[in-house]
């Protein structure tokens, strides 16, 4: 009898221990990034431009702006299509075409980010004959799309049908019912999905390697190469110059901060815990 209780206790402690070790890396990484990177983050770092090797100072403003622009463009591509497709799926529910759409969303979902980079290179960079921020955002938009579709569908599915019936009974046309009744009721879920989508793409590097390319200047033209934070971290991290590695840590602090903020915002909408796949 006692032995069983002891086993119970031992295994409970083991589970606690393993779970504790599970969350250790997060703290290890965060502490390390902050320790190495926080010292370099100041106003000049945030608003300055990169300097050649060997000159002190230099900032990452171009990369911060670039990440913002690239993500914004991806947002404006993925959200209308994603929400539209999500509405379609939640309205139709069944049928061969719907099944096909679902399969395609699964395919997009599982596409490795590097493959999306190849796709954007073949679809845009090669025919347009220029590396461009736009081609990078297309890759990121494809990455974000399934997250938006999935979350839109899920949050619209749970809206009670009686709500629609009430609106229909008042003689409201179909499109208005969807836009004015169904979507507003599911809005928090949709927004959560969008934020999760953005936080998923904001840190992506692989699709930008052959598309957005990078640039040492501030660039607002989406048809030209543009810098981005993750790409800058990748390039600086692999460089042998201590000052660049230092800057990469600083950039990591900024990037992590941005992504955690997005995560936090997305959590406000939902109490549910779920890592979106």
């Amino acid at each position: 009898m006692k032995k069983r209780l002891v086993i119970d206790k031992v295994l409970f402690s083991l589970i606690i221990l393993f779970s504790f070790i599970t969350i250790m890396p997060l703290f290890l990484i965060l502490v390390y990034i902050i320790k190495e990177g926080i010292g370099i983050v100041n106003w000049n770092f945030l608003t300055g431009l990169p300097k050649p090797v060997g000159e002190s100072g230099g900032g990452i403003f171009n990369a911060i702006l670039g990440t913002a622009i690239i993500c914004l463009m991806a947002f404006f591509m993925a959200v209308p299509i994603g929400v539209g497709a999500g509405i379609y799926l939640s309205e139709k529910k069944e049928g061969r075409f719907v099944e096909l759409v679902r399969i395609c969303i699964d395919i997009l979902q599982s596409a490795p980010s590097i493959v999306l980079g190849i796709i954007a290179y073949l679809w845009l960079v090669k025919p347009m004959k220029a590396f461009s921020a736009f081609s990078g955002s297309v890759a990121l938009a494809i990455m974000m799309l399934p997250v938006v579709v999935y979350n839109t569908e899920e949050s619209l599915k749970i809206i009670p049908y009686s709500l629609r019936e009430a609106a229909f009974a008042l003689g409201v046309p179909y499109y208005k019912v969807i836009l004015k009744v169904v979507i507003p009721s599911g809005l928090s879920g949709i927004i959560t999905g969008i934020l999760i989508g953005i936080s998923r793409i904001a840190g992506e590097t692989a699709p930008l390697l052959f598309t957005a390319f990078g640039s040492p200047h501030v660039n607002l033209n989406p048809l030209k190469p543009m810098a981005s934070l993750p790409l800058l971290i990748f390039n600086y991290a692999l460089s042998p110059y201590p000052e660049w590695i230092k800057q990469a840590w600083g950039a990591s602090v900024i990037l992590c901060f941005m992504i955690f903020l997005l995560n936090l915002l997305s959590r406000i909408g939902t109490k549910r815990w779920k890592v979106t796949l």
Partner: protein, 346 residues
């Protein structure tokens, strides 16, 4: 919903504005990582002087050539000149001119950072995997003053296609028959041994991290990281330390008019044997893809600046200057650039 639409319209306008606004000139280049620190410095200074922005991304020589052939960039940078076969595949005539000289050095990670002497055959055998330990008798024989540890040799090479690899394997193919037959020369090789780092920086970082490592990087990367470099025996039998001077000396041979020549294993008596030019490549005829004449002119002026005023920054950054004779040849090549058949520079 309506507000969302408004935001959408505003963003579209910003997008269009961005497209129009930045018609201000940005020249795009891509390619070799080796001259990247120098180019970064040049283009930084050049923007301050003239206002012309240049965006050069170090994606490797292979990438530079491919992106130029695809006409994705205005110019490419490469550590290995394009072969006749490669040139024949390009859609239009491509010209080369050298910007500076560089050298590939052998760097290693040994306790106490001793200065090693190496002969061509030892280098070839190390990179072929035939010499496995640092205290191998052949290394010990020519380095009597160095206490060599009983450590495994870890070969580090480039994982990406690169001009640095080309120069190094070009040299090894010239000095070792076995290398030429088994591995050959190229921008990316089927390495018999070792592990790869991405770019010069990647190799330098790996060598720094792994005790017993040996790798090849550009002189400047070793210099900036305070890494030990080996003296190498050249054709005339001297052990030559790679310095800016010994590298410049390696170019003291006759150069063809199109400047496409390999100067590894040089005949020059005190020249460092693994030296090479690094080139900028561009299209002779600049009127393509609807590029403006202004753009062609800016490009030509930039190139002119690089081989003249720009050269004074070379030595501070550990790159060797172009010899005077080579500058003259490069001038002729830049003057050869045309726009709709008319030469761009007068």
């Amino acid at each position: 919903m309506k507000r969302l639409l408004d935001i959408f319209v505003i963003v579209c306008m910003i997008f269009i504005y961005g497209v129009c606004w930045s018609q201000s000139l940005v020249l795009t280049g891509a390619g070799a990582t080796f001259p990247y620190p120098l180019y970064a410095k040049w283009f930084y200074v050049y923007e301050k002087i003239t206002g012309v922005k240049v965006n050069y991304q170090a994606i490797g020589s292979g990438g530079g050539i491919r992106q130029l052939i695809n006409r994705v960039v205005d110019f490419g940078g490469t550590d290995a000149f394009m072969s006749d076969k490669e040139l024949s595949r390009s859609p239009a005539k491509i010209l080369h001119f050298p910007t500076c000289l560089g050298a590939v050095v052998i760097t290693y990670n040994l306790p106490g950072k001793p200065v090693l002497k190496l002969t061509p055959d030892i280098i070839a055998d190390i990179f072929l995997g035939k010499i496995k330990k640092w205290d191998d008798s052949r290394i010990a024989k020519i380095n009597p003053d160095v206490k060599l540890p009983n450590l495994d040799i870890v070969v580090i090479h480039r994982s990406d296609g690169s001009g640095t690899t080309f120069i190094f394997s070009d040299y090894l193919s010239k000095v070792s028959k076995e290398w030429k037959e088994r591995v050959g020369r190229g921008k990316s090789l089927n390495w018999p041994i070792g592990l790869g780092g991405k770019g010069n920086p990647g190799v330098a970082a790996l060598v720094k991290q792994i005790p017993g490592a040996i790798g090849y990087v550009e002189l400047i990367y070793a210099g900036q990281n305070n890494m030990p470099v080996a003296l190498i025996r050249n054709k005339s039998g001297h052990f030559i330390k790679p310095t800016m001077k010994s590298v410049s000396l390696a170019a003291n041979i006759s150069i063809p008019a199109d400047t496409r020549i390999s100067i590894t294993n040089t005949d020059a008596e005190y020249g460092y044997p693994i030296s090479s030019f690094t080139w900028i490549i561009f299209y002779k005829e600049q009127a393509y893809n609807g590029r403006s004449k202004k753009r062609a002119k800016a490009l030509a002026e930039l190139f002119w600046w690089m081989i003249h005023e720009g050269q004074k920054y070379n030595e501070k950054l550990l790159y060797s200057r172009l010899p005077e004779a080579v500058v003259k040849k490069a001038e002729a090549i830049i003057k050869d650039m045309t726009y709709n058949g008319k030469s761009v520079l007068k």
